[in-house]
């Protein structure tokens, strides 16, 4: 086939990129080679727009065993054990086919974890959708939510990994471009880590798992372009997941690794066989030669192009020690899986693909994997639509505002979502969804891993740098609220089209802000994923960096959000904070009550934040806190209400300090604040003082009623259950349309 400019364009390669390919090969590429380059050099696989800036992120600490560049990051958790974790996006497929798109998103990230030898023990999801009551796209958005949640449930539940938490927010900018970011975490012995490297010339290359079909061809390239009207026709590009096959693969791979005969292993995810062969060769400093006739195929007549680019799910590539193939094959047979030798490791550094013995592609592995184009795209001033000036604020009674906020889609209970996920399987979930952080114990050691996902596109749309910092701070605060020390992070950067300078500027600002905060809080980024071109018909999403941070704590029953007993002192560790009109514009109050965004996100003092978190961890770990909850979306009033929604139905009676407008005092979202209920307020005060943080006692827990007063006047005074019903059922109601 002749390579025409049109063909190059349909492969989403620029003319310059094509010229680079020709120079690299010293000849024109074949059609198959063009396909291979197009996926490996797609934004999705090569990070060509973001690589330059990702280098600014901190990636090291004494705990980091494996930073970015492998299938997942790894950190040492002590006692000879380690955890592997990562977050990845599956945004584009989930819009085109919500159920399978989300399901295969879970499947892909799980494979990344067990490819390294770790057994997955937890999944979390960060989701963004368009509004459920949107006049034009509400019905479609509701279908997408139903599909995505059911897809995640289908895959995770069958695989047998608990989905322990996450977040879900709604904004019009996600109407045509929902976000599905999936986080997974696995555990293993430090000595059992496997890397995706092809080593040992002459070693056989073994293909395991599902057969290769025509599904998902060019999935990686699809994820690297904006959506247009035609995108819906790309449904065949979305793969279909088989969680049962994945479960078998998990058990078989972990068992095969125990034989000692596996040299290297990589899953076939984005860009399938292409990516796994060239990356394993590149990382191992070797080449790989494969014969396509030996690749198990789902249908006859597949071309080399299709086989190499297929993104069929549940497939793995292994390099096995020569002469020990049978040990590995025996394990796969036991689990009823196909395992076939399809090639060998070579010493020439080339990825050579044959069909019927004839060479159809021959490309230097390292150049293909690592010499992808790198762009320093122009970035000016970040795109911003909201005004700086605050509009006149409407007069709304605080109690009505609170009820509206609690029943708003962002703030309301996500029970409808998380009850569809099996969050107790594996009997490790000591704190499941609905809390500040999820906590999963490691049975083999006395350590538990706490984890949280946070991202706030609304803040980032007002100031991407500060918004990213706030996300890091909030994520760490969520971990601190359960007593865990944050140790490492993973990130998923969801942005619009990087070829637009105002979008690129958002990306750069967010990365720099995130880097600064991660460095400050001691949570290096060990891996993650960048998802660009999140635009439909030219409308970009909010800049949405999502952080996944893990923390460590001694295994014990975690402190939960809800008030347990009446008559306990309520301490606001960190104090009432501060707010003005400008800093109020990114709050949930602004969004739900004023129905606008303006100004700037809340101001963050990282040094103070760190001290608040240290104090809270100490308070929690000394056993002083009966409940603990960070103040975030919806501010103090919403946090107090959430603390009241526990099984005991214990409310609170609180007095505000005064000196701030009531709606600011109740609903501002200033960071560095955690609500704690305690029987020993003196000791809590001592600890807070030692860390130099304010910790006013703001009231007491009280049976069944929530009351908030300022200078004697009741701003909020109602029965807890009256607020609880709206909060508990809002999502289900909204989904009914």
């Amino acid at each position: 086939m002749t390579i025409t400019p049109e063909l190059i364009a349909t492969h989403q390669l620029s003319q310059e990129e094509y010229d680079k390919i020709v120079a690299l090969l010293g000849r024109e590429p074949s059609y198959t080679e063009l396909g291979i380059f197009s996926v490996m050099w797609s934004e999705h696989c090569s990070y060509k727009s973001s690589r330059l800036h990702l280098k600014k992120l901190p990636t090291e600490s004494p705990r980091v065993v494996q930073g970015p560049g492998e299938n997942a990051g790894i950190i040492d958790i002590g006692d000879g054990w380690a955890i592997a974790f990562k977050i990845e996006s599956h945004n584009h497929p989930s819009f085109i086919e919500p159920f399978q798109g989300a399901a295969t998103g879970v499947g892909g990230i799980l494979r990344d974890i067990f490819t390294m030898g770790a057994r997955p023990i937890a999944v979390m999801d960060s989701l963004r959708f368009g509004p459920l009551d949107d006049p034009q796209s509400g019905a479609r958005n509701r279908r997408i939510v139903e599909g995505v949640v059911a897809g995640i449930a289908h895959y995770g539940n069958c695989f047998g990994v608990p989905t322990v938490g996450g977040e879900c927010l709604f904004e019009p900018c996600y109407n045509g471009n929902p976000l599905v970011n999936v986080f997974a975490l696995g555990v293993f012995k430090k000595d059992d880590i496997f890397l995706a490297r092809a080593r040992g010339i002459g070693n056989p290359v073994v293909y395991v798992g599902a057969k290769t079909g025509k599904d998902g061809i060019h999935g990686a390239s699809m994820a690297s372009a904006e959506f247009t009207e035609e995108s819906k026709q790309k449904r065949p590009n979305v793969q279909v997941g088989d969680p049962f096959m994945e479960k078998l693969l998990l058990e078989a791979c972990l068992e095969a690794m125990q034989t000692g005969a596996v040299v290297g292993i990589q899953d076939m995810g984005a860009a399938g066989l292409t990516c796994s062969t060239c990356e394993m060769g590149s990382r191992g400093g070797t080449g790989i030669e494969i014969e396509l006739d030996r690749v198990p195929q789902r249908e006859t007549g597949m071309t080399p192009y299709e086989i190499m680019l297929s993104e069929s799910q549940e497939r793995m590539l292994l390099v096995v020690e020569k002469g020990r193939e049978d040990e590995v094959f025996k394990v796969f047979r036991k689990w009823g899986l196909d395992a076939v030798t399809i090639g060998t490791v070579t010493g020439d550094g080339l990825m050579r693909v044959r069909e019927h013995g004839r060479v159809v592609a021959e490309i230097p592995s390292r150049e293909l994997a690592d010499e992808a184009p790198l762009y320093d795209r122009p970035h000016g001033i970040p795109r911003r639509e909201a005004p700086m000036e605050a509009p006149p604020l409407p007069e709304v009674a605080p109690q009505d505002a609170l009820a509206m906020l609690l029943a708003s889609p962002d703030v309301c209970s996500k029970r409808w979502i998380y009850e569809q996920y099996d969050y107790t399987v594996r009997t490790n979930t000591t704190q499941g969804p609905g809390g500040d952080a999820a906590v999963v114990r490691i049975k083999e050691t006395g350590t538990s891993v706490a984890m949280a996902l946070d991202g706030n596109g609304r803040y980032c749309s007002l100031d991407p740098r500060e918004g990213a910092k706030l996300a890091v701070a909030e994520c760490c605060r969520n971990l601190s609220a359960v007593g865990a020390e944050p140790v490492a992070a993973t990130n998923c950067l969801n942005f619009g089209n990087p070829e637009r300078p105002e979008i690129m500027a958002q990306l750069v600002e967010a990365i720099e802000g995130m880097g600064e905060a991660c460095k400050f809080f001691g949570t290096p980024i060990t891996g993650g994923n960048v998802s660009l071109y999140n635009e439909t018909l030219g409308e970009p999403i909010f800049p949405t960096p999502v952080l996944g941070i893990v923390g460590l704590m001694k295994t014990k029953a975690p402190v939960t959000v809800d008030f347990k007993n009446p008559g306990r002192k309520i301490v606001l560790v960190g104090g009432f904070g501060d707010c003005d009109e400008t800093r109020f514009g990114g709050t949930q109050y602004a969004k739900t009550i004023v129905r606008q965004a303006w100004g700037l996100p809340p101001a963050l003092d990282m040094d103070y934040e760190k001290r608040v978190q240290e104090a809270v961890r100490e308070i929690v770990n000394e056993g002083l806190a009966e409940s603990s909850h960070d103040v975030s979306d919806g501010g103090l009033a919403v946090a107090l209400a959430e603390c009241s929604f526990g099984p005991a139905g214990v409310g609170a009676s609180v007095e505000l300090a005064g000196g701030m407008r009531p709606e600011f005092a109740l609903f501002h979202e200033g960071p560095s604040r955690v609500l704690v209920s305690t029987q020993n307020a003196e000791r809590v005060a001592e600890i807070a003082a030692r860390h130099g943080v304010e910790a006013p006692v703001i009231g007491e827990t009280a049976a069944s009623r929530l009351t908030v007063r300022e200078s004697g006047e009741a701003l909020i005074d109602c029965e807890v259950y009256a607020l609880r019903t709206g909060w508990d059922q809002a999502l289900e109601r909204a989904l009914r349309g």
Partner: protein
């Protein structure tokens, strides 16, 4: 006492059941592979939760044909204790060891949450450590846990005191709120809730241990010398 935990391809609560009886109950345990036609010297069999063979056809419909199930049937016929949890309950029903069927939840969605169960009889080797009428908090996690049977079967189950547990608040539409039933010989129990997930104080409830403790009591009465 030695428990045998069956492992089907797709079982995913096998390790949890194993952990509950070995670590929380302190007894011996071993895994029984689905392909094996023999179950060896175990004193009780647990069919764990999960998605045996993917459950793409009908839950438990393939598992009933596995070699190990023939052995489990023999074991049950000889009076051996068999506990089926969640997918294990579905397999027992498909295998004809228990009557009725388990269909999709009333709301058509998977449900994971702790539920309250009422112990309906203490007269069984799975419930003797509890009291009749006692409430236990145990998690459920299933998409197809709605128990159905014809009226005559339901009447018979009740008349013969074979309803082991009922939901206090019915989550899935099960007829007569049934959460777990016994066979005629009272040595086979199928239940949708997961007692192995409520066997450790860290998991928020240890009520599920009553089931395993009952089995241990029954075994001690039967064979005091071997304990």
């Amino acid at each position: 006492m030695k428990f045998g935990v069956v492992v089907f391809p797709g079982s995913n609560c096998d390790h949890d059941a194993f952990y509950a009886v070995s670590q929380n109950l302190g007894q011996k345990a071993e895994f029984l592979w689905h392909d094996s036609a023999r179950i060896g010297d175990v004193d009780a069999v647990i069919l764990p939760g999960g998605f045996s063979y993917g459950d793409y056809l009908r839950c438990g419909a393939i598992a009933k044909f596995s070699p190990v199930m023939a052995a489990v049937k023999e074991f049950a016929a000889a009076g051996g204790l068999v506990l089926g949890i969640c997918n294990g309950f579905q397999i027992l029903v498909e295998s004809g060891l228990l009557p009725g069927a388990l269909i999709r939840n009333r709301g058509l969605k998977f449900i994971c949450r702790p539920v309250k169960l009422r112990v309906e009889t203490a007269d069984s080797p799975f419930t003797s450590a509890a009291c009749k009428g006692q409430t236990l908090t145990v998690p459920i996690a299933h998409g197809e846990g709605c128990y159905i049977a014809d009226e005559r079967t339901l009447d018979q189950l009740e008349a013969e005191d074979r309803v082991a547990f009922r939901y206090v608040e019915n989550p899935n539409g099960s007829l007569r709120d049934i959460a777990g039933i016994l066979n005629e010989g009272r040595n086979v129990l199928g239940m949708m809730p997961h007692p192995e997930r409520a066997a450790d104080p860290l998991m928020g409830s240890t009520d599920g241990l009553r089931v395993f403790e009952s089995m241990l009591q029954a075994f001690a009465v039967e064979t005091p010398a071997r304990l």
